[in-house]
Each structure stands twice: as structure tokens, then as C-alpha cells.
Symmetry: none
Subunit: 200 residues, 4 copies
């Protein structure tokens, strides 16, 4: 007798609850600071059920970090490297990124942990690195486009792209409080300078 439709939905929801609770806890308390007991309580399920959905704590952590990457990619990569007007595209991109990153505070904190101690999480780090490489590549293409059109000063596109992604993650680290959400418009304006915009 296979599980009913309703049961499957319930399970999907439970899995999501666990993952959300775990993400929040991992972000604020770290990997070891997060106990399965805390997760189960935060997700409002029994202790044992966590292991019904995730084989062990490692898998839970891995999933919490890697699974959202796919959706994140879609949003982060949603700009055109071939835009007619790279300057406008860049502004839109930066604004999108800043707004986006402001909204996934807990998740980014998680990412920072993994990167900061990548020796401990080699498998997860590999995924993040892949993501980061593609991210930089796409940004550098837009930069190149803008340089061709004479809108950005000449400099190594990949270097700028690297500085840009560094800035994005660095802001997350530096602005731990809510100020961030109020400030991002300011930040966007200044961040554009990184790309060496040429005023006409």
C-alpha cells in the first residue's frame, strides 16, 4: 500500500520544516552548536523523525547549504551579459543582488561558515566554489561587454568580478544587524564605482 497523496504532502512539509529550522540554527549556533534535539524542537517534530528525513547530521547540514543553491542561481544569474546598455543592466544587477542578499541573511551566514572553514566541509565547499566560479564568470562577461562599449574603465574583468562577489559576501559579514536593509540603496550607488563607470 503506497503512501497517500496527503501523507506525501505532509512529509514534504515536514522535510521543509526541518530544513528551515536547521538552517536558522546552523547559521546562528554553528554546526556543533546545533543539536538534533534543538532542530527537532524548532521544527516541531519528534527527535527521531529528523533521521527519517536525513540520514545523519552531516547530510542535514549538506542539504541545508547545497539544496538552496539551485534556486539562488536562478535569481543571482538573472541578468543579461549581452545587454544593449551594460550600465543600466549593471545597476539593475547590483540592486537585485543587494536586495536578494539582504533577504537571505541566515543562509548567507551558513555559507560564510562553510567558506571560512572549508577544510572541514570539502564536499559542500566544492559546490559553493562551483557556484562562485560561474557567478564571477557571468559578471566578468557583463563587464567586458561594458568595456567594449566604452562605458566602464579598462581593467581585468575577472578581477573586478572577484572584487564584486567579495564585496557582496563581505557586506553580509560586516552588517550583522538590520541597518543593512535600510542602507542597501546607498550601498548600490557606491558599489557601482567598483566597475569604473565612465561618466559622459
Amino acid at each position: 500500500m503506497p503512501l497517500s497523496e496527503q501523507q506525501l504532502l505532509n512529509m514534504k512539509q515536514k522535510r521543509k520544516d526541518i530544513l528551515e529550522a536547521a538552517t536558522k540554527l546552523f547559521a546562528t549556533e554553528g554546526f556543533e552548536g546545533t543539536t538534533i534535539k534543538k532542530v527537532s524542537e524548532a521544527a516541531n517534530i519528534s527527535f527521531g523523525s529528523v533521521f527519517t528525513y536525513f540520514k545523519d547530521k552531516d547530510e542535514l547540514f549538506y542539504t541545508a547549504v547545497v539544496e538552496p543553491l539551485k534556486e539562488l542561481s536562478e535569481n543571482v544569474f538573472a541578468f543579461s551579459t549581452e545587454a544593449e546598455n551594460p550600465m543600466i543592466e549593471l545597476e539593475k544587477m547590483i540592486e537585485t543582488h543587494f536586495k536578494l542578499f539582504a533577504g537571505i541573511n541566515a543562509y548567507l551566514t551558513l555559507i560564510v561558515q562553510v567558506i571560512g572553514q572549508h577544510h572541514r566541509y570539502p564536499d559542500i565547499f566544492k559546490e559553493l566554489d562551483r557556484f562562485h566560479d560561474e557567478f564571477r564568470k557571468r559578471v566578468s562577461l557583463l563587464v567586458e561587454n561594458g568595456q567594449h562599449k566604452g562605458m566602464f574603465a579598462q581593467q581585468d574583468p575577472l578581477t573586478v568580478a572577484t572584487l564584486y562577489t567579495s564585496l557582496l559576501i563581505g557586506i553580509r559579514l560586516n552588517t550583522t544587524d538590520t541597518r543593512y536593509s535600510d542602507m542597501w540603496e546607498q550601498y548600490v550607488l557606491s558599489a557601482i564605482n567598483l566597475f569604473g563607470p565612465i561618466k559622459k
Copy 2:
């Protein structure tokens, strides 16, 4: 019986050994991943001796993070906010910072951990925040100076300073391998753009 000169020197050295070993371990293995046993072995002293020099693990971690801040300040703040030529001062400052940060990899990883999980380390975080605030303040003063002299584009000085410190820590995160040390000259050139330098 007071301790002899030699004994005092020995103890000072041991304390330093422990702290160095602990910093490396905390950075690569995290707080929980670092055990007192590992520290004592890495520092080549007995297990029990760690507790002679540090009351408990928390104090060891606190010291490892906070104690180097003083010396770091001296190096990081070693630029003149009132410089005659802010552009040149800025370039020198950025270069100093990048070189400096490239050399204290383990320590910065520690910093990142504390910031990333500041809820867990409120006392340590307070110290880091103090440091950061002063850092940004000093940078923003240099920016203001440059803007007055018409060398930098107009933008909120504190915002630029925040983006700059974000960039600094973000680069540390993004470049986990040795590429960093080879690249920092490139990075310096592009990072200057953040300040909106006005070409004459």
C-alpha cells in the same frame, strides 16, 4: 619563592606557543573541532598545562581572537587621514591592508567565524565591532579629506568606508587558496575605484 627570570621567560613562551597552536586549530577546525588535547599536542606541552595559562576553553578562544587586535590596529590604522595627497595615501593604505591581510590568513578565518556567529560570542564580537567602527571611521575621514580636495567623487564617506572593509574581509573569504598572494597587486588597482577617484 619568586620565579626566576628564566622561568618567567619560559612561561611567556609557553603561553605564546599555546596561543599560536590554538589560533591555527580554531581557524581550521572551528571552536568545537578544536580540543584541548589537540592544542596541547600542537603546542608541545602537557594537557594540563593549558589550564595553567588559560582558565578554560572560552578564555583561550577569547584571547586568541582579541589579543592580536591591538597590534593589528597599529598596522591597520597606520595611515594619515589628513594627508596632503589623499589619493597617494589611499593607494598606500590599500596596498598595506591587502598585503597585511594576505599574511594573517588563519587569524582572519577566526574573525570570520566570530562575526558569522556573533550570537555565540557576544563579548568577543563587541571587541571586533569596536575595532571595525574605528576602522571605518578613520577610512571615512580620509575619504572626506579626498573629497574636499576634489580628488574623490562625492558619496557618503561612511558608506564607502563600509564597502571598503567589506571588500577586505570578503576577499579573504573568496580567495581561500594561494591565488590571493599572487593577485593582490591587481586587486589593489581595481579596489581604488570604489572610492570614485577623479582622473585629471
Copy 3:
């Protein structure tokens, strides 16, 4: 609605499948090493179904050990204590036993576990003890018969019988590999000596 003939047959088969799988697993992995999940997988039925046929793990173990005893009795006791020629009967008996024991390796391993830790399985042990007592009694009767007829040397019949059953189970323990099946003919010849056969 009563169950159909077919369904009853199905259930009987399932019960048998579970018991066979359980016996093999209990023998090789021990009581705790055997999980209900493993049993269900080995028996190709669902996890929950095990509990349909056996109230709990203890009952499953009990049944796996005790239920085959009845059939085993029939084969083990299939010799005549009143035989005309006790020597020939003895030889036949030993051969039968050795061949029989060679073929039920897994089951005997189970028996050994229960005997070896009889404190843990008092109920099961009681059954085995009953079986063993009857076994020895029957063997000792044959010995007595042979002694009356002057074919076996005088010695306490029950003692010989005990040594004989000890030998049977001991061989099972000592020959864990396939050597056993090749060797039993040799073993039979020498085992007879235990009974003090008198050559004419």
C-alpha cells in the same frame, strides 16, 4: 470475511520466509546485530509485516530456535535403543548425527548462542535443555544395551552419552569452515572409540 485458501497459503509462506531469513541473520549477526529491517529485507516483505507474524523480536528469536526442535528430534532420535546389534546401530546413529549436523550449520550456531548465554534466554534454554536431556537419555540406553551384550567397555552410560553430545556440538564449533563436510567420515570412525567398542 474469512481468508481464502490462497491467502492462508501466502501467509504460511511469508511466515516461513521470515523465519528462514531470521535464522540465518541471528546465526551470523547475533541477536542484537539482527535488526527487524534486515530481516524484512532478507525475507522480501515489508518492515511492518514482520510484526504481523511475530509479536516482537523476542518471539521471533524464540520461534526460530524452538520451532525446529520438533523436527530435529525426529531425526536425532531415529535410532533404536533396543537394537539387536548395538554396535551397528551405534555406527549408523553417529553417521546420521554427523551428516545431519553438518547440514544445519546456521541453526546450530543459533543453538550455541543460546546455550552460551543461557542467562539471557531462560525460556529458550529450558526447551533446549529438555531436548538435550532426552537426547542423552536415549543414547545412554543404547550404550547400556551394548554393554549388556559385551560390545562396549564398562563405563557410566550417561557420562558417555554426555561426552558424545558434547562432541557433536563441539565439532560444530571447532570446524567453522567447509572442511567439516569433507571430514565427517573420518570423524565418525574415531568418534566410535568414545563408546569403548570391544574388538573381537
Copy 4:
């Protein structure tokens, strides 16, 4: 500062206490039935101290089984294969073995467990197998000696030796109660028959 003589003695005693408690428990309750907590209580030490002396439960079990083998060897192998009068040597040997085995009930039960489930304990089993092989070899040498001198009937010496060791371990299994200790003299007399003694 190295540990004092007294401390080292204390530790030796503690290790022995743990091992004795563990042996008794492993024998009566089995590997999984024996918890570290039970061991520590039986040995009158703290839970954590068990791990000071044995890295984990596996090592404790391994040590409990393998360590006594050396001393056991000395006693078990204490007969002369080249004896002038093999018959008398054999009688002495059997008596020694039976008396010896009667006194190490718990340990033998442990051995039986390992042999019975040798798949689970391959490393330990290898040691036992080594011991057993040497044991059989030595017994078979004595048998050969006796056959040469015409005191034992002709039969394959190694087969007899195997049956003999089987008998020894089998008796341990079959006689779980105290009857054994009262009976061994009887057993010795009958066990000799296994070797086909030739009456003059």
C-alpha cells in the same frame, strides 16, 4: 612529572578490575548485552574511566578474549609430546585440561561466543584459530608418539586431536551448571577412550 609508583600500581589494578568485570559480563550477557555503564559499575569505577584504559568497547572485548590466551597456552600446552609413557602423559594431560577448563567457565563462554559468530569478530577469531591449531598439533604429536609405541590404536592423529578439542569445548557448552566440577573425574576416564587406548 611522571606518575608515581603507587599510581602506576593503582592503574594496573583498575585495568584488571575492568577486564574481569567485562569478561564476566560479556560471558553472561553477550557483547551487545554488556554496556559500558554496567562494566564501570561492576568494576567500581566511573563510566569515563573505562575509556581511559580501553579506547572503545571493541578493544575491551578484544582484550578480554585475546589477552588471557598467552597464560592459557602455558597451562594448556604443559605436557610432553615426547613422553616415555604416552598413556600416562595423556591421562595427566586430559585431567589437567578438564580441571583447567572447569575453572575458567566465564572465559570459555566468551570463547564460544566468538567462535559461534566468528564473522562478527574476524580479528579475535584469527587469534583463537591460531591457538587452536597449535593446540591440536601438539595433541596429535602425543597421539603419534603413543601409536608408535603401540599404546593407542591406529587412526589419524590430527582427527583425534580435533575430536578431543571439540570435546573439551563441547563439554563447556553442555554442562552449564555446577555438576561439571563434580563430574570431571568421570569425564576424564571416559574421554581417554577417544584415543583408542590398547589394554594390555
